[in-house]
């Protein structure tokens, strides 16, 4: 199966391990992720002001490029997925705006490409039961907290990936890899997102609440599909340790890293050493590396 693939800025720089583990795992499962030959930044936000069409030009271009090379586009990053999926819907359904945007890009694009998240492909193309059978090394005894965040799920009417209150997709994936999946209250709470830039204490508070909830449920690691969530949850743990008495640090992993390990892929390129909270001792204790 061949799918066009949009890595996005962060996966090409700060989250290379996310990209590498995702690409390798997909390949091992027979999904060939082919990077778009030409792409630009999606803008990292879906513009909420209705008069800000300019911000839609960037994602429109990406979608247009995808249409030239195929009819599917896969993203790994939750935010890129969110922006592309919503932009695509807007181009399909809001005629006025489509016409204006088409004038900007001087080409005709009508929202016909289908946008996927890799999780969706795993659920629908492979299937978690099938995936479970293809696991080489079951992640037995690893207790993980699947953290969905915001933009992967909301708004449901536009994204439609999973129930925004009781999502299953990441839980089911991790369970199929043999993990012990813990239930925790903050799996869809916000980490603070871009508030990191201007209100670092707020971000720290929000992220701490998520980690605290995961730890209280007995998790040994938190799993995410968003580089911004990952940053907020991982980078600030040093500060948290200083700020909240009794806080224990907890590794934060991309779901693709665990997928790759479970599929028995050599993890050298997975960027496991790049995290602020080193997950390797935990993984090693479960016989994984």
């Amino acid at each position: 199966m061949r799918y066009l693939y949009f890595p996005g800025c962060t996966l090409s720089t700060k989250a290379k391990g996310f990209a590498a583990s995702g690409e390798a795992s997909a390949r091992a499962l027979g999904i060939d992720l082919v990077e778009l030959s030409q792409w630009n930044c999606c803008g990292a936000t879906f513009p909420l002001a209705t008069d800000n069409l300019l911000a839609l030009v960037a994602p429109t271009r990406i979608l247009l490029n995808a249409q030239k090379e195929g009819n599917h586009l896969v993203a790994l990053c939750s935010i890129c997925y969110h922006v592309l999926k919503r932009t695509n819907r807007l181009l399909r359904e809001e005629t006025d705006k489509r016409e204006k945007l088409n004038l900007f890009i001087e080409e005709e694009y009508r929202g016909e490409v289908r946008v996927f998240h890799l999780l969706e492909l795993l659920r629908e193309e492979i299937g978690f039961e099938e995936l479970s059978e293809r696991v080489q090394k079951r992640l037995q005894g690893l207790r993980v907290a699947p953290y969905y965040g915001c933009l992967l799920l909301r708004p449901f009417q536009e994204i439609g990936l999973d129930d925004p209150e009781e999502p299953r997709i990441l839980d089911d994936l991790l369970a199929s890899l043999g993990c012990e999946v813990v239930e925790f209250s903050h799996k869809t709470e916000c980490c603070g997102s871009y508030l990191a830039m201007n209100s670092s204490e707020v971000t720290r508070e929000l992220s701490y609440a998520i980690l605290h909830s995961a730890l209280a449920s007995g998790a040994q690691a938190v799993v995410t599909s968003c580089p911004l969530c990952h940053f907020n949850l991982d980078y600030r743990q040093g500060e948290m340790a200083a700020h909240y008495p009794g806080f224990t640090q907890i590794p934060v992993l991309y779901f693709t890293q665990l997928l790759g390990l479970a599929l028995g892929i050599e993890s050298e390129t997975f960027g496991l050493a790049d995290h602020h909270v080193d997950p390797r001792p935990l993984l090693a204790s479960k016989g994984l590396k």
Binding site: A49, P155, M197, P227, H230
Partner: protein, 134 residues
């Protein structure tokens, strides 16, 4: 202090601009407060999200001076649970835009710690710029 309400404010330019930019009918909100109840960042806000929207319903521009609009992370929790389908994140965005378009940037990138900038993912910097720069 008693606030004078009149048609000049309740149907004034401010309300009209917020409705235009957000694409929302602000009077569709019946102030049930579910947004405030679930807002993850509310603990740091000076006004609850529902109160900011209330000020807009009354046509009071002091909504623009609330810290709340800068602490909204556009996480869409409120929208996903709103019984009336009011897209509050869009209203917050409209309020931010009104301030940014008039007063300029809220963020100086160069003032951020170098360590932070080198560690932060591109996403954060781009999104932050979109939200805090005019």
């Amino acid at each position: 202090m008693r606030v004078r309400l009149s048609i000049r404010e309740t149907r004034g330019e401010f309300v009209k601009r917020v409705e235009e930019i957000s694409g929302q009918e602000i009077l569709a909100c019946n102030q049930c407060g579910k947004c405030s109840a679930g807002c993850p960042a509310a603990m740091a806000m000076d006004l609850l999200p529902s109160q900011v929207l209330r000020l807009v319903q009354l046509g009071l521009e002091e909504a623009l001076t609330s810290e709340t609009i800068w602490l909204c992370a556009s996480c869409l929790t409120c929208l996903s649970r709103c019984p009336k389908g009011v897209d509050l994140p869009r209203i917050m965005e409209a309020l931010r835009q009104l301030v940014l378009r008039k007063e300029g940037d809220r963020l100086e990138l160069s003032a951020l710690p170098a360590d932070f900038l080198s560690e932060a993912p591109q996403l954060a910097i781009i999104a932050g710029s979109r939200k805090y720069l005019s």
